[in-house]
Symmetry: D2
Subunit: 328 residues, 4 copies
């Protein structure tokens, strides 16, 4: 199957190429970039030297010749081309935020009108696999909502309050230098940001509600001095106290058939570079601490996008994604 | 004034010596160490070379000749010598956990009998300055409880639930190599530990209760890939919603006369190496996020111990502690 | 082909398992460990959970049932079992230092008698592929010598003096906690160690001499606050000045058929997790700076061991090793 | 004494303010900034909150009212105002590169004409204290040349070749975000830059020559994933072999009266935040490895500038600079 990556010079574009290089049924034939058009991919992604001979193309969506597309562009950029891809019959996973939320909520949260709205499945396969299977266009979840939702899904209906305290690596901010990503502002330090107002909260609320939970949700993210990974500590306040054994059994049962969700003590290192989400829980009666770890660029973006592609195209869901993390 | 540091070869001992090297009224004359007796202090603390000619002494408390003592020893070691110091009239700040809690709670939390209990003020000067002023022996607070308590003190009485989500640097684990502190287990990764059962929770509950709050308290610590610092994110659920302006005014008022508590966006970098605690708050109605940042070895240990000494001895409370952080 | 990994609980054992999990023709059937015998592999290597169901076995070499073995044990431990493996017809790559040097030099450098010496090819395939192909037992090179030798091989014969200034990640020190690997002794700092006396210098001298060079060789390693990777800066003093174009052409020609050696600006990030060695050169007339980057656990150990296995067994030399690095 | 800092919003400006906050005889009364004029200093340097009430002023040099000035501006900016300061009788230390080199070499190395050249002492007090004492204007050395020169000064005359292999923290690149300082390009990686052509080499050659040495000098810098510090490994090739004892004695003798140069194993941690330069040597006969460690922002910039001010003004040379490093 021929793959096009639209917006391939960023981190998620690079990850798509890294992971697809080992996919048995998919081959990247087109990598677009507005800024890097003409440059060899390896000039921007030196880790791919020797593994791809592609050059970036600065071309329009109408000129792309592929069977499947990934939209690895910023929010509001995806909505400009999504329709054209669908009309041409190119199945697509959109890594942007443009189709993750209902139109009105999107417009409120992102503060822009949505020019080309349509419904799309929310591509968290562990919760919405059947919808993904039948779709021609899938909205890939945000990085924080992926880890947060998987951390609480088995227990959400038993909670009245959920506080997501997340800690992310710097690649979540993209590859454009800024004050936020300036090394001396991150290295050997730590801080919270967007303490109560991060846009990803809307996705978390949506998914928790879909799980039949009436829990109030809160979210505070922090910036870690590491490149990759999100560890989410979910503080779950229960309607009724539950014992450790009961809670743990719920989790093990909920995820027993999920290849990419592992029940073990989460650390960023064990999932680094992989599509795994490690989760575990500890109950102290009325509060349960549920922790999840993902690689924000893989399960939180490009890996999950490939997982969705695999489902949409009838491939083994784990094709190209059976990599072990790099630990240490 | 002549100072003895009992247990001077560890991190808190080193910090006491670093900070006291610039104290106008105090001079370290005795630095004890069981293991390093006879070695120059600078052989263990190379950053102090040129600033001290002391050598470690392997001596008993009875042989110490000093006006003031710091106990920088592990818990259960302090209780073995505290009485002797008091009998000899040597004012003392104890950095261990031995006198921070009521006897019964100490014994339950630490799982050991207390051999030599007496009451001592809890040396968090911003809350208990008057008790410290009159004391001959002060229990220096734990590192997590210091940052956690200062983060919520102005608002505690308005809360029904407080969840402390703390992130600490590695020096909190001391200078003895272990699996926990092995670089490849910490570098470029992140994880939670003692998710519901950290012993410092007892101090937090004690201080929140003293503030007249009936809030339930929960605590989950995490290990950061940095050497120093604790950032505590306190998720405070209020009895009644409060606006941002009201909450912020409470904090500014509460700490307006406190030199070491600054109202500004907390980061580990801005307090690194200093006795400052930076705090700020953000309200979203029924939840307030209060964040504090301290250096675990300074405001969380040795700096606060010197602050207590200054109060106990009638010195300017900031003597030796007016250092700016090292940023970046 | 059935693989046994002898000493599988350490970092190089874990890397062998991580990489072999994606090998098309090899399957690990036995992972031995003296200390962890009986434990699931995933209990020690959590990144492998879901990818292997093996448990560590505490068994003797005589009881191993496999076609091929990797010795991932410390020096002096390999010599105790190498003979038995050979006698049983099990082809072997030895990751220890025991067979990399002539007997007399080994005994001098390592300060121990060699109990069971025999000649073995030095498994740096880019220089000794033919010897490796025919061998039943190959000595896998040290991590520093791999990067250092590849950095200078094309130019060695033109040099009179070569100074290797290397910087390594912490995993080179193994997975046993020590003062050296204690996070606060490494994080946010940097230092040189074994300034003139590192044992790997003997391998570097050996390989430079084999290249027909009479250059004097010097070596100083440093410890980086990173987990993985060795960057070697080789300062090459030439017999006769050479222009940049000439030097660069030499390198490009020398490595043009080598999949695992890429001519591009070396950084640790671009080779992290991979078997690549990135090299480049810059001439200023009589001095050439040649820099190489490898992952110490992959091209510097387990990846190169699998590369050797592939050659010894007639597999595609890159089988299981076509992974892209994880950048960033 | 009233101090003006011209260009106070950058890292070296912040360090000048941090260190002068503890100086017994100097008070910063004016901190200029083109961009931040009007803002409180603590808004840009949050670590200084509570220690200074100054605001940045966007004023011309002619309007500065001070006894002493520090020029903490980029190269070519200093030459525009140096003359005016001198005419007004304001003693000055210039932290830029504008007066470190002879006019012709400056113009060649920096590729710009020098508009306002005059001779100024090179402010490395350990080598040029007498010239500094009598000067009204001192050129503060570059960060790399400070560490490099102090590493080899005692031995330079015995060398025929010196290769400086330096490793620096990221703050050396200043506080403006760029590709170079983007966290994911630095964190958990390592690389060389300007392999043969860094401009600081000219200062190193100048100082080595002044020491009476005919040694050829080479220089390759590298970028470390740390905020502060430069470790320089000087590979010194000797005219005649020298024993360890002889070399070490040379160093101890050379620096025996220097408060800021300590003979001990150099690490970045032990000098972090301080004006110390730690040095040590190891001989293997014809090569000596000399290593130095400094904090690039202190001994490599602002601390040395204050040291020069102390000498120029007749203060104790260590005034304001007796701080211990922060280890760990």
């Amino acid at each position: 199957m021929h793959i096009a990556i639209i917006g391939a010079s960023g981190y998620t574009g690079g990850e798509l190429m890294r992971l697809l290089a080992n996919h048995p049924s998919a081959e990247v034939v087109c990598a677009t970039s507005r800024k890097q058009g003409g440059l060899p991919v390896a000039a921007v992604h030196p880790h791919l030297r020797g593994l791809t001979d592609l050059a970036f193309q600065n071309i329009d969506v109408d000129d792309i010749d592929a069977d499947f597309a990934f939209l690895a562009v910023p929010h509001t950029a995806a909505m400009k081309v999504a329709g054209a891809l669908l009309e041409r019959g190119i199945k697509t996973v959109d890594l942007s935020a443009d189709y993750r939320l209902p139109k009105d909520i999107f417009e409120k949260v992102y503060g822009v009108p949505h020019e080309a709205y349509f419904d799309a499945p929310y591509g968290l396969p562990e919760l919405h696999r059947d919808e993904v299977r039948d779709a021609a266009f899938v909205a890939n979840p945000g990085c924080f909502p992926t880890g947060a939702t998987l951390a609480v899904a088995p227990l959400a209906e038993h909670a009245h309050t959920i506080i997501f305290d997340s800690k992310t690596g710097v690649t979540g901010a993209g590859n454009t230098p800024s004050e936020t990503t300036h090394y001396p502002n991150v290295g050997d330090t730590f801080s919270a940001y967007k303490w109560t107002k991060h846009r990803h909260l809307a996705e978390m609320k949506q998914e928790v509600a879909k799980l039949g939970s009436g829990a109030r949700c809160y979210f505070t993210p922090h910036l870690l001095p590491v490149n990759r990974g999100i560890l989410t500590t979910a503080h779950i306040l229960l309607n009724e106290p539950m014992e450790q054994g009961e809670v743990e059994a719920l989790y093990r049962k909920f995820y027993e058939d999920e290849f990419f969700v592992r029940y073990q003590k989460p650390t960023l290192a064990a999932v680094r570079g992989t599509n795994f989400c490690d989760v575990a829980v500890e109950s102290e009666g009325d509060r349960v601490v549920a922790v999840s770890a993902i690689d924000n660029l893989v399960k939180g973006a490009s890996g999950q996008a490939i997982q969705n592609m695999n489902i949409m195209c009838g491939f083994d869901e784990t094709a190209g994604l059976r990599l072990a993390g790099m630990l240490p």
